[in-house]
C-alpha cells in the first residue's frame, strides 16, 4: 500500500465527511430536538407514528409508490422486450425517445400534461367539441394523474435495466428451454424473466423510491398529503412554528431512512442473485427475433403510443412557450416571442446561474470522481469500500434531506450557506454518484494488464493514468460527465432550500413562476429552454465522444 494512495484516500474522506456526513448528522440531531425546550428525545418520532395524519400520509405515499411501480412494470416489460428483441426500423430513435423522460426535468412533464390533459386542456376541449361529452373529464388532477406523471418519468429506469437484461442473457439459456420443448410464452415466463429479475429489481427500487423524493409534482397536482410534500410544506412554510419545522425534519429523516434501507436491501438481494457470471461469453447483440406481421404492427403501435406521450412534453411546452393567453382553446392562437424576451433579456441571470453552478459542480465531480474511482477499483486502501458505499447511497437519498441538512449545517459554525458556492457544492454532493458510477463501471471494464503493460514499459503510476487509463476510460467518463451535468442542471429538490435572491437557477425559476400565480407561459418557456439545452448537450457530448472514439475503436472490415 503506497503512501500516495493513503493520502488520496484521506483527502477524499475529508470531503465526504464535510459535504455529506456532517450535514446529515446535523439533520439527525435537529430531528430529536423538542421545540420550546432545551431537551431532546425521540418524542418527535413517537408523535409521527401516533398521529393519524402522518400515518395516513405514510400509507398514501406507500400506495403511490406501489401504483407507480406497477404501472411502470406493466408498461415497461413489453416495451423493453420489443426494444431489445424485435428486429425493427428506427430502433435507435425509439430507444432514445423511451429514455427521454429521464433527462427531462420531472416538473416539465407536469406542466405539459396539465396543459394537454387538464380540465380545459387540449384533450378535453377537443372531446367536448365532438359533442359526446358535456363535462370535462378529470384526467390529471388527483392520485391517478400523479401516478401517471411519476410513472412516465421513471419508466426509463425499468426499460433501461430490463432491455439490457434481455440483451445480455446468454442465448443458450433460452435455446435450452426451447429444445426442452417450452412454448415461447412459457420460456419467457420461466427462463427469460427470472434471469432478468436482478436487472429489473435494480431499476424497480429507484422507481419505488421516487414518490418519497418528489415533492413538487404532488403539490402541483393538488395531492399535498404525500410524505415529501408534507415535509417540504412543514419546513418551508412554517419556519415560525418551530414544532412543525421539527416534524418536517422528522418526516425527511424517516423517508431518508426508508429509502436507504430499501435500497440496501434490494442491492444486497441483487448482488446475491446475479446470474451473469454463469454463462460463458455472450454475443453482443443477443437474441433478435423477426416478429410476424400482426405482432410487428402491434409492437409499432405500442411504441408509437408511448413515443407520442413522451413527445407531448417538449411539443406542448414549445407551443405554450411561443404563445400567450393559451386558455380555453385546444391550440394556441396568439404567437409571440414575449416569453423568451422576458427570460433572456430581463432575467438572463437564471440561465447564467444554471450553467455556472452545474459547471462548477461538474469540475468538482470530475476532480473527486476520477481519483475516487481509481482508489475504489485499483487499490486496497482500507475504507475505500465504505467510501464507495456512502457515495452510492446518495442515489437513494431524497434531495430534500440534503437541502435541509445543508441549510442547518452550514449556517452558523461553517457559514458556507451565506455564499453562492453552496449551490455548486450541494449539486456536487447530490449528483456525484451519477459520475462516480460511470467512472467506476468503465474502470472495472478496463483490463488491468493494459495498465500493467505501461508500468512494465517504464511509466510511473501518474503517467500510466494519463496516457493509458484516462484515454481508455474516456467513453465512460464522457457519459458520466454528461449525465452529471444534465442531472445537476435540472436539480431542484436540494437547491430550493439553499437559493437566495440572485442565486436562482432555471428549475427554481420555473417553480417560482408557477408558484406566484400561474405564469404558465414563462414557466413553460423556461422548461422548453431547459429541454432544448439538455438536448443540445446530449448531442454535443455524443458528437465529441463518438468522433474521438470512432477512430480508435472502429474495426475495418477486411
Amino acid at each position: 500500500m503506497s503512501r500516495g494512495n493513503v493520502i488520496l484516500s484521506a483527502i477524499l474522506w475529508s470531503i465526504v465527511a464535510l459535504l455529506i456526513l456532517y450535514p446529515l448528522s446535523i439533520l439527525l440531531r435537529e430531528s430529536v430536538i423538542i421545540s420550546g425546550t432545551d431537551a431532546w428525545g425521540i418524542g418527535n418520532y413517537l408523535e409521527f407514528f401516533q398521529d393519524p395524519y402522518y400515518l395516513k400520509v405514510l400509507g398514501k405515499t406507500l400506495l403511490l409508490s406501489t401504483f407507480v411501480l406497477l404501472t411502470t412494470t406493466i408498461v415497461g416489460v413489453p416495451l423493453a422486450y420489443i426494444l431489445a428483441r424485435y428486429r425493427h426500423r428506427g430502433k435507435t430513435v425509439f430507444t432514445a425517445l423511451m429514455l427521454l423522460p429521464i433527462v427531462l426535468p420531472a416538473f416539465a412533464g407536469v406542466f405539459a400534461f396539465i396543459i394537454f390533459f387538464g380540465k380545459y386542456g387540449t384533450l378535453n376541449l377537443l372531446l367536448m367539441e365532438t359533442g359526446f361529452f358535456k363535462q370535462p373529464i378529470n384526467f390529471i388532477f388527483g392520485l391517478h394523474g400523479l401516478v401517471f406523471v411519476q410513472a412516465l418519468h421513471m419508466l426509463p429506469f425499468i426499460v433501461l435495466g430490463l432491455s439490457a437484461g434481455f440483451t445480455n442473457i446468454d442465448p443458450s439459456f433460452e435455446e435450452a428451454a426451447e429444445v426442452e420443448g417450452a412454448s415461447s410464452f412459457r420460456r419467457f415466463i420461466t427462463v427469460t424473466l427470472p434471469l432478468c429479475t436482478p436487472s429489473y429489481m435494480a431499476g424497480a427500487v429507484i422507481v419505488f423510491l421516487w414518490p418519497f423524493t418528489d415533492w413538487l409534482t404532488p403539490m402541483i397536482l393538488g395531492q399535498v398529503d404525500i410524505l415529501p410534500s408534507v415535509a417540504y410544506i412543514n419546513i418551508a412554510y412554517h419556519f415560525t412554528d418551530m414544532h412543525r419545522k421539527y416534524m418536517g425534519i422528522v418526516a425527511v429523516v424517516i423517508s431518508a431512512v426508508f429509502c436507504i434501507s430499501l435500497f440496501l436491501l434490494v442491492r444486497w438481494w441483487v448482488e446475491k442473485k446475479k446470474y451473469t457470471g454463469l454463462s460463458k461469453g455472450t454475443t453482443s447483440e443477443g437474441r433478435v427475433i423477426e416478429p410476424g406481421p400482426l405482432l410487428k404492427t402491434g409492437a409499432y403501435a405500442y411504441m408509437i403510443l408511448i413515443a407520442f406521450i413522451v413527445l407531448l412534453i417538449p411539443v406542448v411546452l414549445g407551443l405554450s412557450a411561443f404563445s400567450r393567453r393559451w386558455v380555453f382553446e385546444p391550440f394556441p392562437t396568439y404567437w409571440t416571442l414575449e416569453n423568451f424576451r422576458l427570460i433572456l433579456l430581463e432575467s438572463p441571470i437564471l440561465i447564467k446561474n444554471s450553467f455556472l453552478f452545474s459547471g462548477i459542480a461538474l469540475v468538482f465531480g470530475v476532480l473527486f470522481g476520477l481519483p475516487a474511482a481509481y482508489l475504489i477499483v485499483r487499490t486496497r486502501v482500507p475504507g475505500k469500500d465504505a467510501l464507495d458505499f456512502i457515495i452510492t447511497l446518495m442515489l437513494a437519498f431524497p434531495g430534500i434531506a440534503l437541502g435541509v441538512g445543508y441549510l442547518l449545517a452550514f449556517w452558523d459554525t461553517i457559514p458556507l450557506a451565506k455564499y453562492w458556492v453552496i449551490m455548486p457544492l450541494a449539486l456536487f454532493a447530490r449528483r456525484l454518484p451519477y459520475f462516480l458510477r460511470m467512472a467506476h463501471a468503465s474502470y472495472l471494464q478496463l483490463d488491468i494488464s493494459l495498465e500493467e503493460a505501461a508500468e512494465v514499459s517504464g511509466a510511473g503510476r501518474f503517467r500510466t493514468f494519463m496516457t493509458i487509463s484516462l484515454p481508455l476510460l474516456l467513453k465512460g467518463v464522457l457519459v458520466g460527465v454528461m449525465m452529471f451535468f444534465i442531472m445537476a442542471f435540472q436539480e431542484i429538490s436540494t437547491a430550493v432550500f439553499l437559493y437566495r435572491g440572485g442565486w436562482e437557477t432555471l428549475p427554481i425559476g420555473i417553480y417560482l413562476n408557477w408558484h406566484r400565480g400561474m405564469e404558465f407561459g414563462i414557466a413553460a418557456a423556461m422548461a422548453f429552454l431547459m429541454i432544448a439545452i439538455t438536448f443540445v448537450l446530449l448531442l454535443i457530448a455524443s458528437r465529441i465522444g463518438g468522433n474521438m472514439l470512432k477512430a480508435a475503436w472502429s474495426t475495418d472490415e477486411e
Binding site: 500493467e452 512494465v456 514499459s457 510511473g460 481508455l472 477512430a551 480508435a552 475495418d556
Partner: protein, 360 residues
Amino acid sequence: MAFIEIKNLLKRFKKVVAVNHVDLEVQEGEMLTLLGPSGCGKTTTLRCIAGLEVPNEGDIIIDGRSMVSQGFVHPSKRGIGMVFQNYSVWPHMRVFNNVAYGLKLQKAPKKEVKERTLQALELVGLGGLEDRYPSQLSGGQQQRVALARALVRNPKVLLLDEPLSNLDAKLREKMRFEIKSLVKRMGMTAVYVTHDQAEAMVISDRIAVMDSGNIVQIGTAPEIYKNPANKFVADFIGIMNFISGKIVQGPQGTDTVHVRTEFSEKVLCSADGVPEAEPGGTVFVSIRPEDVEVFPTPPEARENVFKGVIAHKAFLGNFLFFFVKVNGTMIQAQVSHHLPQEEGQEIYLSLDPQKCMILT
C-alpha cells in the same frame, strides 16, 4: 551467479498462499518455463518478478540488484519486458505508438525511437503495419505487437505470461518456435509461464513444474519426462499409466523391486531412484504407454507379461492406441505397428521392468 535469483518467495492473497517459499535461479541467457495447472502459483511468481505483485516474504534479485529487500523497485524501474496473456495492446494507440511507448519514456531521440520501433516491428514480422490500430489486426498480429513492445527496449529480462493461449492451435505451434529463436538471437534471459506441457517442452531450456505454490521439479524436458519426481509431475507431463500397489520386497542388491498390484501378485519395477523403497508402502507403478509392448501371443523370455482384453482401440494416424483391461485394471498402450486384434479380443502386454518407475 544466476541472473535472476528468487529467494524464499512467499505471496499470500488474504489467507490463500499462492507462492509458498519458492527458491529459483535462472541463468543468464536461459529460457526457463514455469509449468503447472491453473492456480499453482506460476503466474503469481512471474508477476512478482515483474514487480506487479509485492511479495510478503523473500527477495528477488535481478542482475545482482535486489528488487524487494532494499526498497521495493516499481515495475517501471526494473528494465524488463513483458508479454501478457491477453496481449494488452493499447486499443487507443496505433501499432507504432504501442511499440514506441517505452522508448519515448526513456527520452530517446526521435530518430532513434523511429528506427528501433520499426526494427522491432520488422523483427516480429509486422513491417508496414505500424499505422494500423490494434482493432484492425488479427489476434496473432496483436500478439506480435505485444512481443515487439516487450523487445524494443532490449530488456535483459523478458517475461511471458501464457502469451500463446489465446491463439488457435496451428498458429500457437508456429509461434512457439518463433519466440524461442527470437529470444535466443537477442540473448535475453526469459521466464515463460504456461500450462501447456508441449509448449513448455518446445520452448524452454529448463522447466520448473509447480503445484500448489511449490516448485516440484526443475530440469530439462527429457529429464522431467524420463525421471519425473512424483506422480503429479508424471501425470502433468505426457500420459502415464498409474497402477497402485504395495512393495513386497525392496531391491536387496538387485536392480528391481517386487510390487503387488490389484491385477497381479508380482510386478517387477526398476529400483532406480527408489533406494528407500521399504516393503509395505503404497506406491504407483508408472509406465508410459509407448513403453508398453503389445503382442498377439504370449512373448517368450520376458518378465511382467500379462493377459488382457482390448476395451478400446483407436487409430491415430502414425500409431495405434489401446485401452487394455487386465484383471479389472485399465492400461494404456501406444503401438507404432499394425495389429489386427479388435475390441473384445485377448492380447498380451509386456511391461519392461526397467521402464516401470515407482512413484509416490
